[in-house]
Amino acid sequence: MRAVLTIAGLAATGLLAAGAAGAAPPKHGLAAYGDHLYGQYCLGCHGPNAAGRLKQPASSTGAAPGRAQGQQGGIGPSLHGVGALAADFYLRTGYMPLRRVGLQPRRGRVFFGEHEIRALTAYVANFGGPAIPQPKPERGSLSQGLALFTEHCAGCHQVVAQGGLVTGAVPPALVEATPLEVAEAVRIGPYVMPKFSQRAITDRQLDSIVRYVEFTKDPPRQGGWGLGFLGPVAEGLVTWFLAIPALLVLCLLLGRRLRS
């Protein structure tokens, strides 16, 4: 019994010491597994010790799932200080691993399983930074959400979050974004999205924005078929491909044709 306790005590001390060291590669637990995965899939662009890489190595095609270590290489930002918040976001959405440096990260097939994501997140969290947020949309105000979304987000994401365009990037529609992902993205500012700190958008305001985004996933369509809530382009298509053909059918019924 005493031996077990001693070993446990030593192990605990060892873990604490490792945790306190921070920058030292973790040797045990989830973070250690994350370190292992990092070496396999992220090292090529984000560099050793997650310090980032600014100079292209010889083969600069970027990381990709299943690629051997030797074939990877690219540039990528440092992950120091980005925290579990960022790692959780990029991994759960499939934004990372990025297929090629310079591409806009897009939602894609999530390559990692739940355990792997937790491991990588724990590893990145080691380097400091914000924890995974806990948005509470039910505490937010829908009308505050619309006002805040219009001011900060609608320019890129469109006022009903149907996605849009900016020169050089395609801000996505938010229909697939979970409340957690929205809260994380706002704090990160991925790719060319602005980054909104606590000062700019408080947590309470973020709750309202998240609540509004949930609302946009199924906006009220009192008027009928919603046409993707995009507006006049879709309405024009309905005019010319539904209404006009119907009326042309009427005209053809009522009038002769030259050949008959």
């Binding site: 009308s143 320019g155 849009g164 365009l165 900016v166 507006g231 382009v233 009427l250 005209c251 009522l254």
Partner: protein
């Protein structure tokens, strides 16, 4: 016909004629002939859409508040609660969401506007490609082109009255295009708006009166003249049968043949519009939120009939025409004003241009088929192609979002295509017309030869 109805009919006609002396006119009107072709009904579809517009519009005037005074929204739509919105916007939100049948009437009105202009455009195509605008019908044609212009303006003002985020952006753009008119631009626009954008509190009542009184009356008057002229000169016709000539018109009399058909088209058009008005959402302004000059949203587009202008505005490369530090022509002028001026100038001038270049000064009651006038058809197709390509360019951002084609690249490609492709379309159209004509000649020759052969060989 039963004899029971006859005394009533006779009594009614007698009553009317005694009080209005209109029996001769009525007799002519009842026997007025309508040549029978389906494409001659397109103008009627536009007319009936206009009727629906006026009827639904009158209903809407009883709910709309033409004021940009800001109020805090305390209505029942949660996402707007507590927000500052104009009274105009609040009144439309209220009508849409909290007045029974309000949304149906409002959506029917908006669909009717879209269909109205689409029908006018199709009608215009028919008039153009069959040469119906030729002497003696130039006046009728010019009235029609003018009505198209008025309809475009009327519709634009109409959906801008709601003061939602998207249409507010559109109004700012309209102001800017006006501002870009050389020399008179800024005076003209500040005069119209009663001050710098967003104008004074007089602007909204002004737009409202323009939309519910001035434009509709203008359109109605021109429409009456247009229909009167059509009636006085009688309708054109294709030479479908040998009986139809430049001097003899063949058609269905207004009564009883044409009346149920036209009535059916009127009721049917209204039916299609009401179906759309109830089943397909259009302009859900409660989702867009109110307009402020400092707000905007991605994906803002004008209604389809102004899409060619947003394309024009997006395609023109970055430059203000400046000479020695003096800005002569700001950028939006080219895509927003010069482009439509050229297109409408072409439409107005075309009858004169064609007469000048073909030397054809004759009267025409018979219509061409498009293939019978290859040059006219080619030029028409080229113009349509030009406008349509610019229109497509205006939607290229959504194409990027949906299909991933880079917006910047699309714009550069369109900048070339809008000048090259219309020429190509025109040439192809001309060639197709000539081939069709040649094909008819060949067919005719073959039928003749077969007939001769049958005569030579009795069976």
């Amino acid at each position: 016909m039963t004899s029971r109805g006859a005394p009533l009919t006779r009594r009614s006609v007698r009553w009317l004629d005694q009080r209005t002396a209109s029996a001769p006119l009525l007799r002519k009107a009842l026997r007025y002939l309508f040549p029978d072709h389906w494409s001659f009904l397109l103008g009627e579809v536009a007319l009936y859409a206009f009727v629906v517009l006026v009827a639904t519009g009158i209903y809407l005037t009883f709910f709309f508040v033409d004021s940009t005074k800001e109020v805090v929204y305390h209505g029942g739509y949660a996402p707007l609660y507590g927000q500052r919105v104009s009274e105009a916007y609040a009144s439309v939100v209220h009508l849409s969401l909290f007045v029974r049948a309000g949304l149906l009437i409002r959506q029917t009105h908006h669909w009717a506007a879209n269909v109205f202009i689409a029908a006018i455009v199709l009608h215009l195509f028919r008039i153009f490609f069959t040469g119906a605008y030729r002497k003696p019908r130039e006046l009728t044609y010019w009235l029609g082109v003018t009505m198209l212009t008025l309809a475009l303006l009327e519709a634009y003002v109409g959906y801008s009255l709601v003061d939602d985020l998207m249409s507010g952006m559109g109004l700012a753009i309209g102001y800017s295009v006006g501002l870009a008119i050389p020399f008179v631009g800024e005076n003209l626009m500040n005069w119209l708006f009663d001050g710098m954008f967003p104008g004074s509190e007089q602007l909204w009542p002004r737009m409202y009166i323009a939309h519910v009184l001035i434009f509709p009356v203008l359109i109605a008057v021109l429409l009456t003249l247009h229909l009167l002229l059509v009636a006085m000169r009688h309708h054109t016709q294709f030479r479908r049968t040998k009986a139809q000539t430049e001097h003899t018109i063949v058609g269905i009399p207004a009564w009883p043949g044409q009346t149920p058909r036209s009535l059916g088209l009127l009721i049917g058009t209204a039916g299609v519009l009401f179906l759309l008005g109830g089943l397909v959402q259009i302009n859900p302004i409660w989702l867009w939120g109110p307009y402020h000059t400092y707000s905007s949203t991605n994906g803002a587009q004008p209604d389809w009939y102004l899409g060619w202008l947003i394309g024009g505005l997006r395609l023109v490369p970055s430059f203000d025409l400046t000479i020695a530090g003096y800005t002569l022509v700001p950028n939006p002028f080219w895509g927003g004003a010069a482009f439509p001026l050229v297109v409408f100038g072409f439409l107005y001038l075309w009858p004169w241009l064609e007469r000048r270049f073909t030397g054809d000064q004759a009267f025409h009651n018979l219509l061409d088929r498009p293939r019978d006038a290859p040059v006219r058809t080619a030029i028409g197709i080229a113009m349509i192609g030009w406008v349509f390509l610019v229109f497509l360019a205006g939607a290229s951002d959504r194409v990027d979002v949906t299909f991933g084609l880079a917006y910047v690249s699309q714009i550069w490609v369109y900048r070339v295509l809008v000048w090259v492709l219309p020429v190509l379309f025109g040439l192809i159209a001309w060639w197709v017309c000539r081939e069709l004509q040649a094909g008819e000649r060949v067919l005719g020759e073959r039928h003749e030869a077969e007939a001769e052969a049958r005569l030579a060989r009795p069976l």
